[in-house]
């Protein structure tokens, strides 16, 4: 067992979570846009 490895690999935890949040963030924005663009024109605000 190598406890040091846990701390050495925290970088991947940070980058991984950042990556997932970024990609999901982009997908959320795109989904809002899709919803807005495909709404009937009279409902758009």
């Amino acid at each position: 067992m190598n406890p040091k490895a846990f701390f050495d690999n925290l970088y991947y935890m940070g980058m991984g979570m950042l990556g997932v949040f970024l990609v999901i963030g982009v997908i959320i924005v795109v989904t809002f846009l899709l919803n807005w663009m495909t709404k009937p024109k009279k409902n758009r605000k």
């Binding site: 490895a5 050495d8 690999n9 979570m17 982009v26 795109v30 989904t31 919803n35």
Partner: protein, 374 residues
């Protein structure tokens, strides 16, 4: 007489243990209804491959290589990731992204609940080399096909144990999640109501969504584009409105057929000499860690968000961000009803649950980005 019993002398006690493990999996599948479509074939396969000189797996017998059916199936469908990917077409066709498209903000909980994967990566790296640690961490994706593809691409030596852990814990979601959720939330928080306000989602959005997700994910993690792509292809078949017959086939016949082969083929990696190691126990423990920290990640993220929100959210829905679909969504819904019989969280939790499906595939892709080919 010697001819009749010559193989019995070759039998090892370790193979008997594997039969017992196979028997337990079959019992859990039939009696406890835990992921029966997978645990039953895996359990039976575990018995099948644990005979001396079993003809089900490729073995060296008297100096010549005798091919076994399960090893042939493994080479044809798992070592090249074909079975899990085809299964993803079926899963994609089963998923209704409607509740999610109606409230896209819910997707953020799917992202938060991937914390267990990365926490387990760090934890597993204390015991295993990085590629194996990464493969084990993806048990936390709560998604069998993603676990198989990542473990296969990273050439992990523990595929059998990873698969058994991934599918067993998915089946155990109703047992694993409630205590973690209760530990991290107060009764008052669990009673927060979230009235469902459905918004109309156009068919154009439903059709464009899987295409857009594929493009975005493919740009970020091209190594895993097949995972997202097959899932979204299945969903496109469902939503396009002109392939209803194909959609039905993908959801039922195709998914069932592949599941049969997938389960029993995975068992080819459950031969006693490969499976009965202390590493298997560590992997089972790490799988549990991944599920617990996925759940905790989602719940704690929701609690943190509540500090800033005027209209509070029920933090339990964060736990549904684990992609075990639809078990996790149902667990949260039931827990909400238990606290307050008028607290209906099903639509929100299912929305979060399907977002977990997307986020887990993205997390698997990122893991491949980090470690594939290194």
């Amino acid at each position: 007489m010697d001819e009749l019993f010559r193989y019995i002398g070759e039998f090892h006690w370790q193979q008997l243990i594997m039969w017992a493990i196979g028997g337990i999996l079959i019992y859990l599948a039939i009696k406890k209804d835990m992921e029966p479509t997978l645990l039953l074939p895996i359990g039976f396969g575990a018995i099948l491959v644990n005979f001396p000189f079993s003809g089900a797996v490729t073995q060296l017998i008297n100096g010549s290589l005798e091919e076994g059916a399960l090893s042939v199936l493994y080479d044809a469908g798992i070592s090249n990731e074909l079975f899990p990917l085809i299964l993803f077409i079926g899963i994609g066709a089963m998923i209704d992204f409607g509740p999610l498209l109606s409230n896209p903000k819910l997707m953020i909980f799917g992202a938060a609940a991937q914390f267990g994967i990365f926490f387990t990566l760090c934890t597993a790296s204390m015991f295993f080399d990085l590629n194996d640690a990464a493969s084990i961490a993806v048990i936390g994706a709560a998604d069998g096909p993603t676990s198989i593809v990542v473990a296969q691409k990273l050439n992990s030596s523990y595929l059998g144990a990873i698969m058994v852990a991934a599918y067993s814990y998915m089946a155990l979601v109703p047992i694993i999640q409630p205590p973690v959720i209760r530990l991290l939330t107060t009764k008052k928080e669990r009673m927060i109501r979230m009235p469902y306000k459905p918004k109309e989602v156009s068919q154009t959005t439903r059709i464009l969504f899987p295409i857009v997700i594929t493009i975005i994910s493919g740009m970020v993690a091209p190594a895993s584009v097949s995972l997202v792509g097959f899932l979204m292809f299945g969903n496109l078949i469902r939503e396009c409105g002109v392939l209803n017959s194909l959609s039905e086939t993908a959801q039922k016949t195709l998914a069932n057929l592949v599941t049969i082969f997938l389960g029993i083929t995975i068992a080819s990696k459950m031969q006693a000499e490969d499976f009965l190691k202390k590493e298997t126990l560590i992997i089972l423990g790490l799988g549990l860690v991944a599920f617990i920290f996925d759940t905790a990640g989602g719940v704690i993220f929701a609690k943190v968000l509540n500090l800033f929100l005027k209209e509070k959210i029920n933090p339990m829905i964060g736990a549904a961000g684990i992609s075990a679909f639809p078990m996790s969504g149902r667990v949260v819904h039931k827990m909400g009803l238990k606290e307050d019989n008028q607290n209906f969280l099903l639509m929100q939790s299912i929305g979060v649950n399907v977002s977990g499906q997307i986020a887990s595939v993205i997390a698997g892709g990122l893991i491949l980005n980090f470690f594939f080919g290194k």
